[in-house]
């Protein structure tokens, strides 16, 4: 092994092997080229129907449904289905649309690092899916490019604006929703101290904090607000570190906060556990506030009593509405802002813990809708 000529020999052998492979590749590619010319569009030789029986998520509902023949593609961001956050929310909208319209769907999840987002979009486009949803701001550049290559396909991106004729941008006013739960937190707080836990210290999460602070201070100017971010980018583990989420929450409770709001993705579970633990260990009753979906319904049942409310970010509504309009061929605006007014963001009342303050919250909501109050979307 150690002598040079032998090493060379190995690589010559491997090179030969690869040359054969390359030749095979070449042959395939040429065939594809001709078929591309013939079908005038898609280049890929494989489609979702290529392997009958292998697919279970791709299902076609019986004929007669309005959405028959519509193939919806959805590319999730890191976390995918089951993240108890916005990917799940998007999935819920998709499931509902599938149920109602009988559309065909294909869902793709990125790798752990998310490097293949754009490729997933492209795969869906090549597979003839239309419309195609990109869940998450990280898709922005990918959507921009893929949309240009597939001008006849409609794309929809969540959380970002992409200016292309065939792209629908679905953005949310998270700061407005956060302002509502901020107000709820301040109103419900007995101690005069509330908290915010951000997953990773990035602009998107700052937006949540800005709204939250605004709402809290709007109803109670002297409220004290504690704030912690679990990690700093490029360390994104703050979205996935429930242990740290729990410790941060415990700290806030121990420092006198009795309501804490999180925008920390998967680390958020730690908040509710901390609330339960703190309350049960003789501390006074403390609360957590959920984010994105109604976390009262997604946390473990024993934690429900600690989910005061959730800031709802209705990605499901956005997805469902967009599909609905597409199926019904209703023209759509290139940019749809899902704000309080459009009921794209809001607060949840599951569990009935905030029923007593609904009037105040509704009042703030109305002011935001009327434009009498403008919620800032950045810190400072």
């Amino acid at each position: 092994m150690r002598t040079r000529f032998m090493r060379k020999g190995v690589y010559v052998a491997l090179m030969l092997a690869f040359a054969l492979v390359a030749a095979a590749c070449g042959g395939g590619t040429n065939e594809t080229t001709t078929s591309t010319a013939a079908t005038g569009g898609t280049e890929t030789t494989t489609t979702t129907t290529a392997a009958p029986g292998a697919s279970t998520t791709t299902t076609t509902e019986p004929a007669g449904m309005p959405g028959e023949g519509v193939k919806v593609g959805m590319a999730y961001d890191i976390g995918g289905r089951g993240d108890k956050s916005f990917n799940d929310s998007a999935a819920a909208g998709l499931d509902r649309a599938k149920e109602e319209f009988g559309i065909e769907v294909q869902e793709l999840e990125p790798t752990a690092g998310g490097e293949n987002r754009e490729e997933n979009l492209r795969l869906l486009a090549e597979g003839g899916f239309d419309p195609i949803f990109a869940i998450g701001f990280a898709f922005a550049e990918g959507v921009d490019r893929v949309a240009q290559d597939f001008p006849d396909t409609t794309f929809a991106i969540v959380d970002s604006v992409v200016e292309q004729p065939n792209v629908l941008s679905l953005v949310f006013a998270e700061h407005e929703g956060s302002a509502l739960v901020g107000a709820a937190a301040a109103l419900k707080s007995q101690t005069g101290t509330i908290g915010f836990i951000g997953g990773v210290n990035i602009g998107l999460i700052n937006k949540f904090e800005a709204g939250y602070r605004f709402g809290a201070e709007y109803v109670k100017p002297d409220i004290e607000i504690l704030s912690t971010y679990l990690t700093e980018p490029p360390d994104f583990s703050g979205f996935n570190d429930p242990a740290k989420g729990k410790e941060a929450a415990l700290a806030m409770f121990e420092q006198g906060a009795d309501v804490v709001y999180h925008a920390a993705g998967g680390s958020g579970t730690g908040l509710f556990q901390a609330a339960k633990e703190f309350t049960e260990q003789g501390g006074s009753k403390v609360w957590g506030i959920g984010v994105d979906s109604d976390q009262y319904n997604t946390v473990d049942p024993e934690l429900r009593d600690y989910v005061m409310t959730s800031m709802l970010k209705r990605v499901d509504v956005a997805v469902y509405t967009t599909i609905k309009n597409f199926v019904e061929e209703v023209p759509q605006d290139p940019i749809t802002v899902f704000d309080v007014k459009a009921d794209g963001v809001g607060y949840s009342t599951s569990g009935g813990f905030v029923d007593d303050i609904v009037p105040q919250l509704e009042e703030l909501k109305q002011k935001i809708i009327d434009g009498m109050v403008t919620v800032p979307d950045t810190l400072e």
């Binding site: 020999g9 690589y11 080229t33 697919s55 791709t58 793709l108 754009e118 795969l123």
Partner: protein, 369 residues
């Protein structure tokens, strides 16, 4: 010929073994491996896939070379990860803030990346030389410290003021700092051009790095001294090779090469350093270096294999097959290949000593006769 077969036995058996493990995993979850691998193979045979494969292989290859330079003298640069991220940040920032005559602009970006990579690896080198701190530990620590430095700089100083606050990034490269793509190559070779994916021009630099590595290690005196230090530091020292200087130079070269890893994305689809910059290329580079046995061509094959696996795995989701099986394959293939090399090496070593001993005996008998 028998030896060639013996030596190629290691990588081939490792790949076969990983295929078997992956197949078992697939069968355990009730999927057909044949369908899965067949789909992967078909999917990988388009120009688009080939371009994507190469794009994926390029940073892996450069990363592998960076690691391999160290391996040649028994130094482990586990810090490629931190070095390339930091280098890409500075390179993206500098590149996005200047406008120069294009070749000069690109040269500046390359230089910044190399210098930053060298600086970060140089710390590990200096710690080893002056304080005897083992480079594996110091580079692991420096990786984490580097992540913090990046966070601090990007947030406070390097972010594009006009950019989105959602995904912090350095300013995008102006046209003079961009590299042309290589899609024409496909046309020139008689294939269809890839759709949607550019074969990034940076691939050329990977080839340059490979050639540089080959010449440096096997054709120059420095490379000879490098390998000598790796095989027998004591003997190299007696032969006038200053071990400290060698460690320092090797770490610097390794870090300089590592600095280029991230440029694949900076010059490629990102055009800047972004908050969600590709990670783990440093660690996967180690895997590729092992797979390719530190040989310039072997590592290229290894990088392409990884690129192939990553790209062709995409189709699996459409086949309702967990594409994560590919990550298992990558882990298994690395472990299997080092074990296989070890086993085959021992075997060959024995053969070699025996045959040399036989040759010696013949020589003696010849002399006696």
């Amino acid at each position: 010929m028998r030896r060639i077969l013996l030596a190629s036995l290691a990588p081939i058996s490792a790949i076969v073994f990983s295929l078997i493990v992956a197949s078992i995993a697939l069968m355990l979850v009730g999927r057909s491996p044949i369908t899965a691998f067949g789909a992967m193979w078909d999917f990988a045979r388009t120009s688009t896939s080939v371009a994507s494969m190469i794009n994926r292989a390029v940073p892996l290859y450069i990363s592998a070379v960076a690691v391999a330079v160290g391996f040649q003298m028994g130094l482990f640069n586990i810090g490629v990860e931190g070095q390339y991220l930091l280098a890409a940040l500075f390179a993206g920032w500098v590149g996005g803030n200047i406008v120069l005559w294009a070749p000069l602009h690109i040269a500046v970006i390359l230089a910044v990346a190399i210098i930053v990579g060298m600086t970060w690896s140089g710390i590990a080198g200096a710690l080893k030389v002056t304080r005897g701190v083992h480079e594996v530990i110091s580079t692991i620590m420096l990786n984490f410290i580097g992540f913090s430095v990046i966070a601090f700089l990007l947030l406070n100083y390097f972010k594009d003021p006009n950019g989105s606050s959602l995904n912090l990034a350095t300013p995008p490269l102006p046209p003079s700092g961009q590299l042309p793509n290589l899609n024409w190559l496909f046309g020139a070779l008689g294939f269809s051009e890839p759709r949607g994916i550019d074969l990034h021009g940076f691939a050329v630099f990977a080839i340059v790095v490979g050639v540089f590595y080959y010449l440096l290690v096997w054709r120059t005196r420095f490379g000879y001294e490098l390998r000598a230090s790796g095989i027998n530091p004591g003997a190299a020292r007696m032969a006038g090779v200053d071990p400290n200087r060698m460690i320092m130079n090797t770490m610097l070269i390794s870090g300089g090469v590592a600095g280029l890893v991230g440029l694949a994305a900076v010059f490629g689809n990102l055009q800047s350093y972004t908050q969600d910059f590709p990670r783990n290329l440093g660690f996967n580079g180690i895997a590729v270096a092992l797979l390719g046995r530190n040989h310039p061509v072997g590592m290229a094959l290894g990088a392409l294999l990884f690129g192939f696996m990553d790209r062709s795995a995409l189709i699996l989701d459409l086949k309702d097959t967990p594409k994560e099986v590919v990550t298992i394959m990558q882990g298994v293939v690395v472990l299997a290949v080092v074990i296989a090399y070890e086993v085959v090496n021992r075997f060959i070593e024995r053969l070699e000593i025996r045959s040399a001993a036989e040759a010696t005996r013949e020589a003696v008998e010849g002399a006696a006769a």
